[in-house]
Subunit: 477 residues, 2 copies
C-alpha cells in the first residue's frame, strides 16, 4: 500500500501540460538530425522542413498506443529478469562517471578495473536489479572500442540485465551483438530483450544523429529504450517545472513516435531527468524541490501515457560524502520512490552531479535503498505483530528487551545497519569518532569481497572474445 504513487497535480493540470506538449510538437516541432528518420516520418505523413519535423498530435498518440505498458528485460540469468511497468523500483548503479573515488585510493580517472568492481558490487547486492555499462569510464582502454569492454564486463561478471553503453548507432549495434551472443543469438533477445538503451535528446527539442541512430539500432533489435530529456530549468528548459514538463512530454513522446515507427511494439520508457540550475555556478542543482516535484509529476504523466517510467535516485551535486550529499540524495530518492518509478538510474554511488562514482556513496546508498525496501513491505498488522499476549505478560511498567516475542523476532523485524548506528557519544569517541565515509569504506569492501562469479559458458566467452577482437581491429586502427 505504501508504494502507491503520489498524485501532486490535478487532471486539469496534466491536460494543460499535455496540450502544450502537443502544440509544441505541431507548431514548433523538433530538429531530427537523421535523414532516414526524417524520410520515415515524412512517409508517415509528418511535416518535414529541412531538418525540422512537425508532428501531428493524432500521429503521436497513435504511435504511443503501440508502445507496451510493461516490458520484461533479462540478462543471462532468467531468474534475474525484471518486468518494468507499474512502479517496479528497479535500482541501478550510476552511469557515465568519468571519475571514481574511494577513501583509500582517492579520486581518480575511472579505469577498466574500477568498472569491473562496480559491476561486481552491483551483482553482489540484491538491492540493485540491473546494471549500467559505463558506470564509470575506463580511461585505460581505447576510447574507440571501450564500449565493447564495458558491456562485456556486465556479461562476464554479472548475470543481471543492464543498460547498454551505446552512445551512437554503431555502439548500440555492438551492444546488441554482444547481448545476442550472451543469450544464444539475436532471435532470443528479440523475443525477450536483454538490454536497455538510453537516449537523451539535446534539449530543447533536438534529436541529434548519434541518438536517433542508437535508438534505431535498439528499436530494430526490439531492445527497450528510455527516452530521457535532460532538462535543466533555466538552461535547457524555461525556469519552471511546468514548462519543463511540457518539453519532457514533447521530447519523450516524439522519441516514442520515432521508435514505434522503426519497430512497432518496442518497449519505451517515459524518462525524467529534471533539475534546477544553480544560478551561482550554472551547474545542475540536484535533489532540490523542483526535481522532486518534477519526478512526481513525471510519474503521473508516465501513467497517463501508459509507459514505464525512468527516473533517477540518489542524485546530488555535493563534492563530498557529507550532509549535503545525503540530504540531496534522500530528497531525490523520496521523489522517485513516491512517483511510482520503474527504472531508477544512478541509485547507488553517484556523487558530484554524476561526475564521480564514489564507492563510499555506493555503500551508503545501498543502506538507504534497504530502508526503502523495508518501508515498502509496509506495516504488518496480524496477531503475531500485534503481540497482545506479550503486552499482557509484561503489563504496565514492563520491559520487552528480554521478552520471548522480542528475542524471536528482532533479527527479522528491526532494521539494523552498519552505517546507521545508535552509539553513546563517549563510546563513539572512544572507538575513534567514525563518521559515515569511514564506516562505508568497510562496507563496500565487504560487498566487493562477497561477489560470487556467476560463471560464463566457455562457448559464449569464446564467441564474445572473437567478436570483440574483430571489432577492435576495425575500430582501433
Amino acid at each position: 500500500m505504501f508504494d502507491a504513487p503520489l498524485t501532486i497535480i490535478s487532471e486539469d493540470a496534466l491536460d494543460a501540460i499535455h496540450a502544450q506538449a502537443m502544440t509544441i510538437l505541431e507548431e514548433i516541432g523538433a530538429e531530427v538530425v537523421h535523414a532516414p528518420a526524417r524520410e520515415m516520418l515524412a512517409g508517415l505523413g509528418q511535416k518535414v522542413d529541412g531538418t525540422r519535423v512537425r508532428f501531428d498530435r493524432e500521429f503521436v498518440m497513435e504511435q504511443l498506443k503501440l508502445a507496451p505498458s510493461q516490458v520484461t528485460v533479462r540478462g543471462r540469468n532468467p531468474e534475474r529478469a525484471v518486468t518494468f511497468g507499474g512502479g517496479t523500483l528497479c535500482m541501478l548503479p550510476p552511469g557515465g562517471s568519468p571519475f571514481v573515488a574511494d577513501r583509500e585510493r582517492g579520486r581518480r580517472d575511472g579505469m577498466y578495473g574500477d568498472h569491473v568492481e562496480v559491476v561486481k558490487m552491483t551483482q553482489a547486492t540484491p538491492l540493485l536489479g540491473a546494471g549500467q555499462s559505463g558506470a564509470c569510464e575506463a580511461g585505460d582502454v581505447p576510447e574507440t572500442s571501450r564500449h565493447l569492454d564495458l558491456d562485456y564486463s556486465w556479461i562476464r561478471f554479472s548475470d543481471k540485465p543492464y543498460v547498454a553503453y551505446g552512445t551512437s548507432g554503431p555502439r548500440a549495434r555492438d551492444s546488441v551483438e554482444l547481448a545476442a551472443i550472451s543469450r544464444g543469438g539475436r532471435a532470443a533477445i528479440e523475443a525477450e530483450p536483454a538490454i536497455i538503451g538510453i537516449v537523451n535528446p539535446n534539449s530543447p527539442l533536438v534529436w541529434d544523429f548519434l541518438m536517433v541512430d542508437a535508438m534505431w539500432a535498439w528499436a530494430e533489435a526490439n531492445q527497450p529504450i528510455a527516452m530521457t530529456p535532460f532538462l535543466l530549468a533555466g538552461a535547457t528548459a524555461p525556469v519552471s517545472a511546468a514548462a519543463g514538463l511540457t518539453l519532457q512530454v514533447a521530447e519523450a513522446l516524439s522519441g516514442v513516435a520515432i521508435a514505434q515507427a522503426i519497430r512497432p511494439g518496442v518497449g519505451c520508457f517515459f524518462g525524467s531527468f529534471f533539475s534546477g540550475v544553480d544560478m551561482r555556478s550554472g551547474g545542475p542543482s540536484l535533489g532540490m524541490p523542483e526535481s522532486v516535484l518534477g519526478s512526481l509529476a513525471g510519474g503521473q504523466l508516465a501513467r497517463r501515457y501508459g509507459l514505464p517510467f525512468r527516473g533517477g535516485g540518489g542524485l546530488t551535486s555535493a563534492n563530498a560524502l557529507d550532509a549535503q550529499a545525503a540530504t540531496e540524495s534522500a530528497m531525490s530518492l523520496w521523489g522517485t520512490y513516491l512517483s511510482g518509478c520503474d527504472l531508477v538510474l544512478h541509485a547507488a554511488g553517484w556523487l558530484e552531479g554524476g561526475l564521480t562514482c564514489s564507492f563510499e556513496k555506493f555503500a551508503l546508498d545501498l543502506e538507504v535503498l534497504r530502508m526503502f525496501q523495508s518501508l515498502r513491505t509496509g506495516l504488518e498488522v496480524d496477531s503475531e505483530h500485534l503481540a497482545l499476549e506479550t503486552i499482557r505478560e509484561e503489563g504496565p511498567g514492563g520491559i520487552f528487551l528480554a521478552a520471548d516475542h522480542t528475542l524471536e523476532h528482532f533479527r527479522e523485524w528491526v532494521f539494523m545497519s552498519p552505517l546507521f548506528r545508535s552509539q553513546a557519544y563517549p563510546t563513539w569517541t572512544k572507538q575513534g569518532s567514525a563518521e559515515t565515509p569511514e564506516v562505508a569504506t568497510k562496507e563496500w569492501k565487504k560487498l566487493l569481497e562477497s561477489w560470487e562469479d556467476p560463471g560464463l559458458d566457455d562457448g559464449i566467452e569464446a564467441e564474445l572474445q572473437e567478436f570483440m577482437a574483430e571489432r577492435k581491429r576495425e575500430l582501433d586502427e
Copy 2:
C-alpha cells in the same frame, strides 16, 4: 495537494489496532500513580484497583469526543498564533538536550546563554512556528528553578507560542503563571491558550505522578497537552510497529480521557514518538523505517480520532553532522511530513538522539524545512509557468539562461541555498573543500545576528521578574 497525508494501512488494520488498544485499556489497564486522578476516574465509573485503573472503551470514546479537532495557540504576538489540526506542519526546535554543540565552541553542557541563542534563532526564522522551553538545558542556573528562566527566555526574546518546560505539576503551574502574565492574565490564556504541555507516559502503560500532575495543571488552565508515549520497539514496547501502535493508542487515549475529565474541551494532541532499538547498543535508532511507518500510521490514527497530531522531525542517532545524521533526519522528516502532522518537535538542531542541540544541525535542518515548504507549495501550472512563448522564442536547440522569462522568475522560482550548492570540483577544492558543517556555521551565525528584539512591555517584564524572584526564593532554598 502535495500535503495530503499518505495512507499506508487499511481501515481494517486501523480497526484491529484500535480494538486491541481498547482491550488493553479494559483488561490490562494503566497504572495511574496519582491519587486525585484515580479518585476522579473512579467517580466516573472506571475500575480502580490499587494504582491500577481499567478503562471502559465507551468511556474513553466519550471522553475523546470532548477533545477539539483544532486548537489555536498564541504567544504574545497574535499574528504568530498557530492553529493545529489537519496537517499544520508547525515546526519546533529541539527540547531536552543536556548538551549543545557548535564548531567553534565545541560540544559542552548547555547554559542559559546557549538557550537564549536557540530562542533567538527560532524567533528569527519564519520556518519555525513555535518554540520549546528547555531546547537545551541551562547548567548555570539552579535546577530547582531553571524552568522559570527557560520559559522566561521564550517570553522575553521571542513572541511565538512555545512548548512549556513543565516536567512536574509545580513546574507546569509556574509555566501557566508566566504565560498568563505575558498575556495579561489567566482569563486571556484560558480563552486563547498560550503554551503547549507535553506529557510522556512511562511506557508501557504507566502514568506517573509527575506527568499526571503536570497534565492536571495545564488542563485546569485550558492549555493544550500533547500525549506522547515514548515507545521503543523491543524495549518499552514489543518489537513490532503494530504492537507499538496499540500501546500508543491505549496510552494517548487514556491520557485524553484523564485530561477531558479534568477540563472538558481542553486541547489534546495525539502524540507519536516511535522508534526501534539498536540491539547492538540498546539505544533508540532514529529515522529508521519502523519510525517512518509508525509516523504514517500514527497520522492515520490521529485523523481517525479527530485529534491534532504531534510528531517529530529531523531525528537522528548520529553523533556527528555526517551523512548518517542527514539521512536519518530526512527519513524522519519525510515520514512526519507525509503523516499530516501538526506539531513537529525537534525539527531543527537535534543530534545524538536528542542529547545535543547542534547549532550547525540547526542551520542544516532549516534548509531542509525550506525545501519542504517549497515542495508544499507544489507545482504551479498556469500560462506564466507553462511559458509557451518562451519555448517558441528559443526553439529547438535554444538556451534559456538569458531568456527574459528566466531573468524575470529565477530568483523566486529556483530553490537556492547556501548549504546546497552545485560547484565544480576544482572550484570547490580551490575554495577549501568546505563540507556541510563548515558552511552551516556561517549560516547559524547569520541567523542569530538577524534576530530582532520583539520587545516586551515594561509592566509585563516587571511582573515576570517579580513572580520569578518570589518563586526562586521558595524553590532555591
